[in-house]
Each structure stands twice: as structure tokens, then as C-alpha cells.
Amino acid sequence: MRRRETLRIALGALRRNRLRTVLTVMGVVIGTASVLAMVAIGTGARARVAATFEAMGTHMLIVLPGSIQAGGLQGGFGTEATITWGDVAAMATQLPSVQAAAPVLRTSRNVQSESDNWTTLVVGTTPAYFVIRDWRPRLGRLLDESDESSGAKVVVLGQRVVERLFGAHADPVGQRVRIGRIPFVIAGVLAEKGQSPMGQDWDDMVFVPGSTFRAKMQAGLGQFVDGVVLLRAVAADQTTRSRSQVESLLRERHRIAPGGDDDFSVRDLSEIATAQRQGARVLTLLLASIAAVSLLVGGIGITNIMLVSVTERTREVGVRMAVGARGRDIQGQFVAEALVLALAGGVAGLLLGVLAAWLMARAFHWPLVLQPMVALAALGFSAVVGVGFGIYPARRAARLDPIEALRFE
């Protein structure tokens, strides 16, 4: 029998049982919609985690100086400066997997404009810092090499500091501020970045050249770096390699014997990022499988209703067989019914799922991530559900003995 004919018969049968058809379709609608919405929620969450870590720097490594031992007490990392300026230069230039290295010297200072003052974190660093963080100026410029080499008294402000000292919309580039008692010229203002995943305000900071910091604010420790070193790997997937290269370089430069304790430590942010992404992926998978279960329940609904339908229409099957329907015609008719139910549910579920994902993305301020592949897969899956769960009742109908079927009351 022709395909169009089969479809016509199936649609006719479904139309005659409208309420039953709608209720059966609902099962698939809910299933498909929840799969889509859950996957969208999961991917949205993942994208948000990724974006957060991107802001922190997925390429980033932090080298902390080692601990001191005082009277048998082992201090924590960072209690003693062990990393030299030479180490910083060596890490930046000798390691192929390291793109840039910058020292980070920190202190808290009161910063004053003509009208206001604000205590904030002053960071002394080199231009490489902004490359590592991938931070850009909103106004003016960042620190450059000549600032560093000349020890210029210039400063780059975070947006929060600008708000406190000049007002949110002011352009303070070229004006002066005092840090402690020392006047600095404002070279630029950083674009707003929000908070770090640990709750630190990235915008409540000011940056001065490392050389100026050491000369004017906090006398350094000679050859040692009084702070930490930030590194940027050439690519996000190279951080592990960078880490081991940095470790062996520093062990060599510090002449640490094999098996000896390191006097430094390297922290890798991508580890945390990977763990978080993994968590989000597991969450997606979990949500999607729960949703898939509801699609399965929808499929069982189809089987159930098709079995009822076959039983109800046993006599019809007998009549059709008596006038010349073959087993495969009967089977095709019932499979087509199940397929129409499932696909109708799939399409409606698709729309509902997209709507739900959109609403949730709005509610949680997530990016709306809709993958056409997922939509296609959901549709395909609902078709598979239709055929898979329709085939058993259809087979039963096709295998009916026409004599018995005609006698069926």
C-alpha cells in the first residue's frame, strides 16, 4: 500500500480519538521539552562557568615562593621570598610553553584625588601582567615597557577606584592622584571586570610599574621578588606542560636535589576550571538522563494507547484483512499512527523546550545555548520512540488471525 494512504488512514484514526491522541502526545511533548530544556540549562551553566574562568584566565599559572622553617615550624607557601628576578626573566624567555611572566607586588594604600580618597590595593607589576590577564583599558592606555624601565610615576586605575575618586562617568586620564604622598599621573582606566569566582573585586585595584613600586612604595628584597609571579601558557591545554617545565626550571635554578622539597609552588587555575566544567557536564548529563526517562515514559504511553487501540479495532483489522490487507499493511498503519503521535509530540516539545530554555536563561542570566544538534537529536529520538514503542502493538495487530479478528466482539 502507498505511504500516503497509510498516513491518511493513521491520521483519520487519530482524529477520531482526539482527546486520547492529545493526551498521548503530551507525554512525548513533556519528554522532548524536558530533554531540550535540561540540556540547554546544563550547557548554559557550563558556558557560564567557562566564561567565569576565561575572565580569571584559563591560561594562567601562579608561582608562589616557598616556605621558611623557623624553629621546627614549617611556614606556609609565601612566607619567604625565594623567587628571584632572574627566575622571572628565565621563565618568560626560556620556556617554550610560557608566553609571558609578570611579578605581582601588592600593598594596600590610600589613594587621593582633588576631592576624595579611597584605600585600595596597589599592584606593582610589568606590562606582561595585562597580557596574562587579557585585560584591556577602557580609557587611556596600560603600563608599557618605558614606564617600567624609567620607573615612571604613572598609574592605571580600576573602574571602582575611578567611581570613588572621580564619579562613575568621569574621564580622569591625564589627571593626578596621590598614592600615599607620591603624585602619580593617570595613564588609563581598565574596563570593568566584575568579581572573581572567589568574590574579589577585580575593579578595586590600581596598577603601577613594578620598578616604581619598589623604588617609591615598598623597598624590595634585592634580588628576590616580594610577591608572586603570574604566568601565561601559550594555550589553555598547555598549562600542565608549562607547569612541569616551570617546576623543573626552578628546581634547577634553585639547585634542589632530586627528592628534595621545592621552595616554591605552582598553582594551576585550569585545574579548578576543568573540575568545574566537569561538574557542569555531569550535571548536564544527569539532567538530560532524568529528562530522557520522562521521554521513555511518554513512549510507554504510546505503547499503552496503541495496544488499547489495536484491541478496540480488532474487528476492523479482521475486515481489512478480509478485503485484502496484508500483514505489513496493517503493521504499517499502526506504526504510522505511533510515529505521527511521537513526531507531533517531538515538534511541540521542541517549541516548548526552547521556550523553557529561554525563560530559564533569562531568569538565571545564563547565555541561551541552543544547539541545533540537540534539537535534531530530540526529534530523531522521539521518532525512534514512536517506532520503537509502536512496533510491538503493530506487530500484534499484523499477526492477528483474520478469522478470529472477524469474530471478535
Binding site: G324, A325, D329, P402
Partner: protein, 253 residues
Amino acid sequence: MSLVTLQEVFRTYLSGSEEVRALDGVSLEVEPGESVAIMGASGSGKSTLMNLLGCLDRPTRGRCLLAGRDLAQLSADERASLRNREVGFVFQQFNLLPRVTAQENVELPLVYAEVSPVERRRRALAALDRVGLAQRARHLPNQLSGGQQQRVAIARALVNRPRLLLADEPTGNLDSRTSRRIMALLQQLGREGLTLVMVTHEPDVARHAARVLVMRDGRIVSDTRQVPVEAAEDEPAPASTAMTTESTVSLPT
């Protein structure tokens, strides 16, 4: 050549662990154009015989030929196709599909014969016209009387121009007046060359056939030929029912 040939046909069922011989060595030839009534008590095997003739069943043993083809050697699909082309069924219960119109019911065999929708419609309307129900084509079965439903069923049985019409108690659910009209229609179709085999337990119905078989315990116990009594409408049909066309049916197109 005979349209139907049965040679020493056996058909046994398992009823629990007991073997039931529904047909116990039946031999029979039906020539084209014959009208045959099969009589017998219930359980005598007449329904089993009908199912065999209609290709709904296969013999346990023996040869059973329909239109020259051996049922034992046909696949299920081939039997379906033979039912579609060579056999028309008329049932006691009418067996119309309840939710579709008279015309769509009549079209049903043509759907499985893969006839185009336009041609299907044309032939269904012609068949309905032939049984006097052209005006009722768009009616659902429950909007028709019993006699009208049975005539739709006859139109359905005729629509694919089979050579054999099988009727199982065709008047069993009808009152006597309607029965006479149905018998008149069947007789008319017989005169036009259709081979007719019907099962009945009413002698009144059987006397309209030219040949009467009596079955008992799975065997044919008598096979007599007779001059069939003309079925006639003994009173004129109400003008509104378009039944008068029954006596003026035309030859198939």
C-alpha cells in the same frame, strides 16, 4: 474449469489437547456462475468451509484450489492478494468500519489494490449505485438501516470485481422483508454471472439457490440441485429509500 475445487480436504483444530475435525474429507467443485447454499447445524463445519473458500484459512490436508491456485502453496501475502481480487465477503454482522462513510467502506478493497483515489471514488460510487445506495454515499453506517448497511457491505464485496461472492448468513440480522430484498439483490448478481456461495441455516433462504449442500460433522451429507425460487419484493418499497433500483440493477461496467 471450476472456480473452486476441493479434494479430500481436512481441517483440524486443537481444542485444548483434543483434536477437532472441523472438515473431515470434503470434496467439492463449484462452477463459475453457480449459486450454492450451504446448510447445516452450528459446528457442522460450514463456517470452516467458507473460511477456506475465502482464503482466510488453509487446509490441514487435501487440495484446495481457488481460481486454479493451490491455497496450501500460497504465502500469507499471496492469499491476501487473492482475497482482494477474487473474493468478496458479506457477513452476518455487516462488518462495516463504523467511523467512516459508506463510500469509504466500499473503497476499502481498492485501497489495498492500490487503485488511485480518483478511480477508487468512481468505482465505489458505481458499486453503491448498483446496490441502490448512491444517495447514501456520505452516510456513516450508524445512519443507515440494517438492510442498507448490508447493501453497503455487498457493494464493498463487489467493488473489486471478484468472481466469487461469499455470504455468511447474509440475512441473519435482518427482518424478513429486508431479507427478501437482500436475496433479490444477490440473485440478480448471480444472474449477471457472479458465483455465489452462502451459508445459511434457514431453508427459506436456501431455496433461492440452485444448489444446496447439507453438512454434518465436517462432511457434506447431501448435494442437491433445484430450481431456485425467485426472490421478489412482495410489497413496494417506500419511495424515500431509493430501493426500487434493486429490481433494475444494470450490468457491471
